[in-house]
Symmetry: C2
Subunit: 311 residues, 2 copies
């Protein structure tokens, strides 16, 4: 079974504790590991939760604030020490490349290539694509240039019903066509619709990462029907003014967006350390959108692989 | 009782785990907190072991390798977020200032002053001094410019025996002189030696931090009679050649230096992750110098305040 799992490596905002490290997420799609943001200590968190840093080939950076990137230096250095030779891909604002170049001027270059990728002006174009997944940048509204990312599985090939292949005596070339969605015409000329010949298609699973940003209702479009949405909730509803001033969101705002977009499950995090108990933020969000969890370091959220009826 | 305590915040070398963070030590002398090296995650370790980063005013950096400085960025940022206004003093190689300046050009400046201090060419001159402690840099032999640091208490004022003050009718002015080490002449002209009038003086406690370096027997002089010596022991004796190539030390070499210098207690750390069990390194060192401990994150080593006989 192909997995689609999100691992929370860090869930705090700027003031981490020993239990809540700064922001970092790991998305596992099949055997691909996508690292999203790199808060300080991300390499120790990967170790703690049993993931080999060497298996990461794509790192997505939202913006150049320390609590989202300070773990990048140690992680890349460790990858080099571990003998990495294959390229690592870094996705994020274009200044990321310049920042890393200056960093290496002090700390020495890496023994493997770094390939930088920045979103183009047309942010509907995927920044990453392979045979199974696309990643699309989502421009956010924060104090500096910031991108969220939408990870979505591509449409999977249809599964043809083996019993009918036998019954109708369908040849290999036709099976290939049916997998692509075509109907089948039998030797006596009758048309069998594709829908009858195949199992219901798999749902294309998706995860959207939205941090950091002010409340932006315009995001509801791009987030429509997403399975799993992480949205920052730095502040409580009582601190709405502070959220607006610092260009962050409240838990209620995150939930409002989740509701508008009709997503399946909302995860909130990036909690300010001013709240001793993030349960309050969770409750505020659930009043608006019940399917909300406040995340903790080490938690795993899976999206199951399900067939959807096309009827 | 005035404390002299070393807290191990991180004990690994370049490849940290969730249990062994990169190098960072905290030395507490009375109510002063001296931070020595800043491996990634040092701010989380401070929190974990119950220390408020706001109480640190002096940070000593050995050299500009990532496993000794990557935690500096997050720690300073957090200090700023916590509302720090008072200056922070950074001690280390002169490139540290340039490195931090470039860092701030990307991540914004701090809301408090940073004062940089580099060792002068005459390294016998203390780099830090107050009424109770001096800190002297120790040039080490590593791949880049590196300093160890020797922390030593200053001589304490002598305690005058109250019974004798009364017996001899000693006035306040004379008590002050006796505290400084002078003898006393009674009204009938007889000399009472200072040693009889005072309690035995306190031992001047000391801690030396030696990381990273190749084995350097010339250090025995500056480390003579130190109470507590931390010496890196990246490698086992079996990997002596690798230690020399990378300009690191073996546990046996650390112990040899400890023995030569006649120190009281040796701490070894900065272990390479190639050794699953650092007990082997500890045993190797103890064969040469029995008073050796391999350090772990969170451990505390105290040097007791003791009077020493001058007889």
């Amino acid at each position: 079974m192909v997995s689609f799992e999100l691992i929370i490596l860090g869930s705090s905002s700027t003031l981490p504790t020993s239990k809540r490290f700064p922001t970092a997420h790991l998305l596992k799609v099949d055997e691909r590991f996508f690292l999203i943001d790199c808060g300080e200590g991300v390499q120790m968190q990967l170790r703690k939760f049993g993931f080999n840093p060497g298996r990461i080939h794509h790192i997505f950076v939202s913006h150049l604030h320390g609590d989202h990137v300070y773990g990048l230096f140690g992680l890349l250095s460790t990858m080099g020490m571990m003998g990495r030779k294959v390229p690592l891909n870094l996705y994020g604002p274009s200044r990321l490349k310049e920042m890393m170049a200056q960093h290496f001027s002090f700390f020495g270059s890496l023994p493997f290539p770094l390939d930088f990728h920045s979103p183009s002006s047309d942010t509907s174009i995927p920044i990453y694509e392979d045979e199974k997944v696309t990643v699309t940048p989502i421009p956010l509204k924060h104090r500096i240039l910031t991108y969220g990312y939408l990870f979505r599985e591509k449409k999977k090939e249809l599964n043809v019903r083996k019993d009918l292949v036998e019954n109708y005596g369908i040849g290999i070339a036709d099976v290939v066509r049916i997998k692509q969605g075509e109907d089948f015409i039998t030797s006596n000329g009758s048309l069998i619709p594709n829908r009858r010949l195949t199992l219901p298609p798999y749902h294309q699973r998706s995860y959207a990462y939205i941090s950091d940003t002010v409340f932006d209702p315009d995001l509801a479009g791009v987030l429509k029907n997403v399975d799993l949405l992480f949205h920052e909730a730095t502040f409580s509803n009582n601190d709405k003014k502070l959220a607006a001033e610092t260009m962050h969101s409240t838990s209620g705002q995150a939930a409002t967006l989740a509701k508008m977009a009709g997503i399946k499950k909302l995860l909130i995090g990036h909690f300010s350390s001013r709240y001793k108990d993030h349960g309050v933020l969770e409750e505020e969000a659930r009043e608006v959108f019940p399917y909300t969890d406040g995340v903790n370091d080490g938690e795993i959220y899976s999206v199951p692989l399900e067939r959807v009826s096309t009827e």
